[in-house]
């Protein structure tokens, strides 16, 4: 009882082989697409590597790159096989390889599916990484003279301008850290010294934000200093003013950006997985129908193609038995307490020549 049996004439077999050849080449292109999507994601993550704390998120683009390369190789081989399948002589070359190839590709499609699912699961790790990374970045904003952190100010400023965001959760994050380096503070001024002394940790805090938080859409020139002090500016109320600074936090902005990228990549990988699966089904039908034709002997006749020769349960049982026997080949037979030298009487009937007369026992010399 075969699974999804179909009849194939010679014409249909040839057409199937040609169509599969083209589809395999399209699959090579989708493999290249997967590879480039993985590369793109890797580049995007590394671009903002300074803003992300150490977290294990590189596995997703690496997986996509590996899957893309393997897909190219597998489908290239598949294309070659299908191209040769039109000619039965050439098919004999590939006959032994085809079944292992199909099994390998079947397991490979699972890898593709896992790759797609990983894209969606990366979000949690990414959020954690961004949270920690941005907190650190804002803290080290002022350290433009410390080697290794010289360009952090520039990176944070460009980030806030590009993604239209301010701070980690909001603009108030800037009020809690000192973002002006001591090199630019006049320690001889009374106000500066007072402010430093009034803070427990000796930090110069103020209700001001860097210029990169300024909102372009504001009708009035940007108010960066004394943001929460209504009387410091004419006709200004900070509780209702929404257009002066960017209201969104950078973590939310970056997370949304990366989630959007990964959702699109995940969708593309899922579609690629479906495509690969359908190509694999076609190759399986081609393989079984060609093998049946060879078994029948007449190359121009009709033949059956199927997905599995017996029903699903029987195939599973047979394969499990094969695996068990493979395991048993190394085991010792425990019937005679493990001693292989005991003579076990034969239960099969012996054949003693044409007249079937058992041999006379030669008496032993005592």
């Amino acid at each position: 009882m075969a699974v999804l049996r179909l009849k194939f004439t010679k014409n249909e077999r040839d057409k199937l082989a040609q169509v599969l050849w083209i589809l395999n080449w399209i699959s090579v292109l989708t493999g290249i697409l997967l590879f480039s999507l993985g590369l793109f994601l890797k580049v995007e993550i590394n671009k903002r590597g300074e803003l992300m704390a150490e977290r294990d998120i590189q596995y997703v683009p690496n997986m996509l790159i590996a899957v893309g390369l393997i897909a190219c190789a597998i489908n290239f081989l598949g294309g070659k096989i299908c191209y040769d399948c039109v000619d039965t002589n050439k098919f004999l070359r590939w006959k032994l390889i085809m079944l292992p190839y199909i099994i390998c590709t079947f397991f490979f499609t699972f890898c593709v599916l896992v790759g797609a699912l990983m894209c969606y699961s990366m979000r949690g790790e990414l959020e954690e990484s961004l949270n920690l990374g941005l907190t650190e970045a804002i803290r080290f904003y002022k350290d433009t003279d410390t080697p290794g952190r010289c360009f952090l100010k520039r990176t944070v400023d460009m980030l806030q301008m590009e993604f239209h965001c301010c701070g980690n959760n909001g603009y108030k994050d800037w009020f809690q850290i000192q973002w002006i380096s001591n090199r630019y503070l006049d320690m001889s001024q009374k106000e500066v010294v007072d402010r430093l002394r009034s803070n427990v940790e000796g930090k110069y805090l103020m209700s001001g934000v860097p210029f990169s938080c300024c909102n372009l859409n504001s009708p009035r020139p940007c108010i960066q200093q004394h943001v929460t002090n209504n009387s410091a500016h004419f006709n200004y109320e900070h509780q209702t003013e929404a257009l002066n600074l960017w209201m969104r936090g950078c973590r939310e902005a970056l997370l949304e950006y990366y989630t959007h990228i990964m959702q699109s990549i995940g969708l593309t990988v899922l579609l690629t997985w479906l495509f690969e699966l359908s190509v694999l089904t076609g190759v399986r039908y081609l393989q079984t129908s060609l093998e049946n034709v060879l078994r029948q002997g007449d190359l121009n006749s009709e033949s059956d193609g199927w997905l599995l020769e017996n029903s699903f349960m029987e195939t599973a049982r047979t394969n499990l038995n094969i695996i068990k026997c493979l395991g048993k080949g190394n085991q010792i037979d425990t019937a005679n307490n493990g001693d292989p030298n005991i003579n076990v009487p034969s239960t099969s009937k012996a054949h003693y020549g044409p007249d079937n007369v058992p041999l006379k026992e030669i008496p032993e010399a005592s």
């Binding site: 380096s181 090199r183 630019y184 210029f211 009708p219 009035r220 940007c222 004419f234 006709n235």
Partner: protein
């Protein structure tokens, strides 16, 4: 004495037809490229039209779009002719159209040359439009409540951030205009009143720049206000400070952007002219080779191909003579009148 004759046998003719067909399709792709470059250029001009007072000339992108479409059409037709040229029945259809087609190609090449020239010359116009437009943009920066100029502030801020520039010639342009609207100035404040009264035109001028002039690469937080006053900031000397705000003017920045775009488009057009000339030469050789076959029924025979039937000077002489006779057909022959009267 034909100009640059070449002998062709069957194999050479076939090779020429195939090679020419491929070159024609390459030219179609180049035509599509020109078309999309024209559209890209038009979009870029539209995006920055506020900086140019909505006064910019769209001649070059429109011409590019037209030329791109024409190139596609002309080269596709040429490709079809080449494809059919080896089949005598199909080629007979196209034979009468070939001479006008080659003349059309000549005219098209002249149009391409004109477009390339314009690409190089219109850069001056762009420069002047930018200078005028940016001056007005800075003047109208504060008018975010005037209909038609609400978004001037946003556009200018975006331009300064994107192109890393400040002001028209440099940042001092901001010192000469009032860029803070009166709506946000506290007129009851003495300082404000003094400053406004001290100015002849009653403008509130100060040595400050908007936030979009700030350079993110500066190691210190941006100094926007009291730029020329060294004592207003700790450890600050405005004469040697280069990293604080962008020192380049926006006119120079925008002009170099558009100029590089127009120069590369011009170079591409010159390459297209060369490609089109190669196409025309190839087609002329192919058609003459097919026409001079002694025995049309026998495809194996040899034939000659050339660029011009007579030498260059003779062809020009013939052309001039033809133009003269075209002019003369409208003139009345004097002898004829007297004959008819009689």
């Amino acid at each position: 004495m034909p100009f640059m004759p070449v002998k062709f046998n069957l194999q050479k003719r076939v090779k020429l037809a195939q090679g020419l067909w491929m070159i024609y399709w390459l030219s179609v792709i180049v035509g599509i490229l020109l078309f999309s470059l024209g559209i890209f250029f038009k979009i870029e001009l539209r995006k920055r039209s506020e900086m140019m007072d909505n006064n910019e000339s769209h001649l070059v992108p429109n011409l590019l779009i037209l030329v791109g479409l024409l190139a596609c059409g002309v080269n596709a037709f040429g490709g079809k002719v080449c494809h059919d040229s080896l089949d005598p029945i199909k080629f007979a259809k196209w034979k009468p159209m070939l001479k006008p087609f080659l003349l059309l190609c000549c005219g098209f090449n002249a149009l391409l040359l004109l477009t390339a020239l314009l690409c190089f010359l219109m850069q001056f116009a762009v420069y002047l439009t930018l200078a005028e437009g940016l001056k007005n943009s800075i003047k109208f920066y504060k008018d975010t409540d005037t209909p038609g100029r609400c978004f001037m502030k946003r556009t200018l801020d975006l331009t300064q951030i994107e192109f890393r520039c400040c002001g028209n010639n440099n940042f001092r342009d901001w010192f000469e205009v009032q860029w803070i609207s009166n709506r946000y100035l506290d007129m009851s404040n003495d300082l404000v009143k003094d400053r406004v009264l001290s100015n002849v035109e009653g403008k509130y001028l100060m040595d400050s720049v908007p936030f979009s002039c700030c350079n993110p690469g500066s190691p210190r937080p941006c100094i926007q206000h009291h730029l020329t006053n060294n004592s207003a900031h700790y450890d600050y000397d405005h004469r040697i400070e280069e990293l604080n705000i962008w020192t380049r003017g926006c006119r120079e920045a925008l002009f170099s952007y558009f100029s590089s775009m127009m120069t590369s488009i011009g170079v591409l057009i010159i390459a297209t002219i060369i490609l089109e000339s190669v196409d025309m030469a190839g087609l002329k050789y192919l058609t003459t080779a097919l026409e001079t076959m002694e025995d049309p029924e026998n495809p194996e025979c040899e034939s000659d191909g050339w660029l011009l039937e007579k030498g260059v000077k003779e062809t020009f002489g013939d052309l001039l003579a033809k133009l003269k006779t075209l002019g003369k057909t409208n003139q009345v022959v004097e002898g004829g009148d007297s004959v008819s009267i009689l």
